[in-house]
Subunit: 331 residues, 2 copies
Amino acid sequence: MAKLRLEDVAEAAGVSKATVSRVINRRGYLSKKTINLVERTMKELNYRPNAIAQQMTTGKTQLIGILVPNVANPFFGELASTLENHLFKMGYKVLVGNAQNDAAKESRYLQQLLNHQVDALIIATHNHNIEEYQNANLPIIAIDRYLRQDIPVIQSDNYAGAKLATETLIERGATKIVHTDNLPSNQHDTQRKEAYEATMRAHRLTPITYLTDFYGDQAQRVATFNQLFDEHPDVNGIFASNDTDAALLLQIARQRNYRLPDDLQIIGYDGTQASQLLAPDLATIVQPIAKMANATIDLLELQLKKQTLPASVILPVTLREGTTLRKNKRR
Amino acid sequence: MAKLRLEDVAEAAGVSKATVSRVINRRGYLSKKTINLVERTMKELNYRPNAIAQQMTTGKTQLIGILVPNVANPFFGELASTLENHLFKMGYKVLVGNAQNDAAKESRYLQQLLNHQVDALIIATHNHNIEEYQNANLPIIAIDRYLRQDIPVIQSDNYAGAKLATETLIERGATKIVHTDNLPSNQHDTQRKEAYEATMRAHRLTPITYLTDFYGDQAQRVATFNQLFDEHPDVNGIFASNDTDAALLLQIARQRNYRLPDDLQIIGYDGTQASQLLAPDLATIVQPIAKMANATIDLLELQLKKQTLPASVILPVTLREGTTLRKNKRR
DNA sequence: TTGAAAGCGCTAACAA
DNA sequence: TTGTTAGCGCTTTCAA
C-alpha cells in the first residue's frame, strides 16, 4: 500500500494533476461534473494530500509554534488548550514546546520551529536573552513577557491584581500581611511584588516578602513557608503569587492550627480551572486565561494580515472568593 | 531578507549543493577543510535548513502527533509534557491536538496529522468508532484505550487501583462506601466501577454507584453529589474515580459538617502533580504518569525500528495518603 | 572527496 | 474549463 499521490488520482479519474489540485483547493473554474468525478475518485482511493508537498509549493505550513514553560502547569495547559482550539478552527495545527526554565532548550526549540517553517509563533516562556527572537522574521505574539520592541505583549493586569489581593486582605481586617512570590526574572517579574509593597505602604503597613524558586522543589518551599510562620506567628493575612503556593500555605497553616479565615486569611493568584476544582476553598485572583487566548488569536490574525497592532493588551483580573477570606462587611 | 537556500550557501562557499547537504547531514566523505568552510559560511549567512524541503526528500518529518482529550486537564497536561520532553530529546517535535469529547474533531485531527506526514501517533483520547485508525499505516501507541487489535495499549492498572481504593476504605473502617464514576464509554471505561463492585461484594457490602458526565458542567456534578448525601446521609466512605470529583465531594461533605476522616473517608483517583499541590489533603490512587510516558516512548522506539511489541503494558498504581483517610491501624 | 542532475508531491502560471 | 510545465529546497544516486 504505497502512498497515493495526486498523480494517481489524476490517472484514475482520467484528468490532469492540475485539475485534481484545483478540486482539492476549490480554485479556478471547474465543472460540476469534474468536481464530482475527482471527489469520488479521491474517496474511492482513500487519497489524502501530502501536506508537506503542499507546503513546499505554497510556502505556508499552517503550523503555529507555541512555546510555554510547561503544559503540566495548569495555567499553561489551559492557555495552550484554548489557543489550540481556536487555531484548529482557523485551519492551523499547533506545535507545542515545553521550554521549562531552560534557555538553551528554548533556543533550540525556536530554531527547530523556524526550520519547520511555522507560520507564526506564540511565546509564553520566561527565559531571558534568547537572541533568536531578535532576527526572527515572522508574526510573533508574546504572552506576559517582553521579547522585542515590535512584538506585542498580551497580559493580565499583574499590578492591579496584586493590588486587589492586598487591598482585599486589608479591607477584610488583616493587619499583618505577608507576601510570597517567585524569585524575579521569572513569570510576571516584579509587578505583583511591587504592587503589594506599594499598597501596603499606602496603608501604612510594613511589607514582608518571602521569595521561593518557581522551579525549585517542594521541600524548599515547605522550608521557606515554615520559616514564614516561625518568624511571623502573628501573621493574619497572606497573599501568595500563585495558587499552588497558596494551597501549600493553607495546608501548613491548618497543621499549625490557624483557623481560617478567622485567624488568618489567604489569597492566591492565577485562578485556573484546576485550582477552582481542586482547591475550591481558596480565595484567589483570577487571570482571564480564555480572554488572554482570545486576544492572542485576534492579534495573530491581524499580524498575519500585515495590519498594525497595539504594543500590548492588558486584561483585567477578578477576585474569586473562597472560604479563606472573611465575608465582605459591606454586603 | 529573502529566505536563504542551501544553494546560496553553496555559492557563497564555492562548493556544490551536494557538498553543503553532506555537511549538514554529516554523511559521506568530506575533507575537514570543506566541513569547516561550509560550516563557517552557514554561520555567517545565518542559514537554517528548510525542514519542509528535507521532509520532502527524506519522507521523514520528525513530527509526532499526540491526541489527548484536553491538555487543560492536569492528567493529560502532565502526560503530554512528559512525552514531549522525551520526544524532543529524540529529535522529534510534537503536534498536540485536544480532541475533547468530539469524535468528529478527532477524526479531522487525525486526517490532518496524517496529511502532515507525522512519523507516528500517540493517542490518549476517549472517543469511539473513529474509523481512520483502521487503515492508518504508521506506528501508533494508544494510552488507556483500545484502538485496533495490533495497536499496543499503555495503561495503569485500573482494576487494581479501584480495588486498592475500596479495600483501603474497608480496612480503615468504612462500612457504607459509595462510588462515583464517569458515565462509561469514556476514559477507563468500566474497569474501576467493576473492581469497586466486586470488592464490595467480596466483603459482603452493597455497592452504590453514582455516575456523572465527565464532560458535563459543574452544576450537574454538584447536584448529583448532593443527591448522594441526601440519599445516603450515613455514608462513611467515598471512592471517587477522579480527583476533581473527590475534591468537590470533600467540599460538599465539609459544608454538610461531616468530620473527615472520622465521620467520612474519601479517596480519589489520578494523583496528578496538580492535585498533589492544590489538594494535598486528599487521599488518592496515583497513576504513574511518568512511567506511562516512558513506556509509551519505549514502545514507540521499538515500533519505529519495526520490532515486535507487547499487546499491552499495565503499570501499577500506588496509594497516596492524605488526611481524608484514617491512619492505618497496622502501622 | 566532490559535483551534476534527477526527483520528492504538489501548485500555479501559462496555454489551449 | 482543462492540460502542460516549471519550479519549491532539499537529498541522493551516479560519475568523475
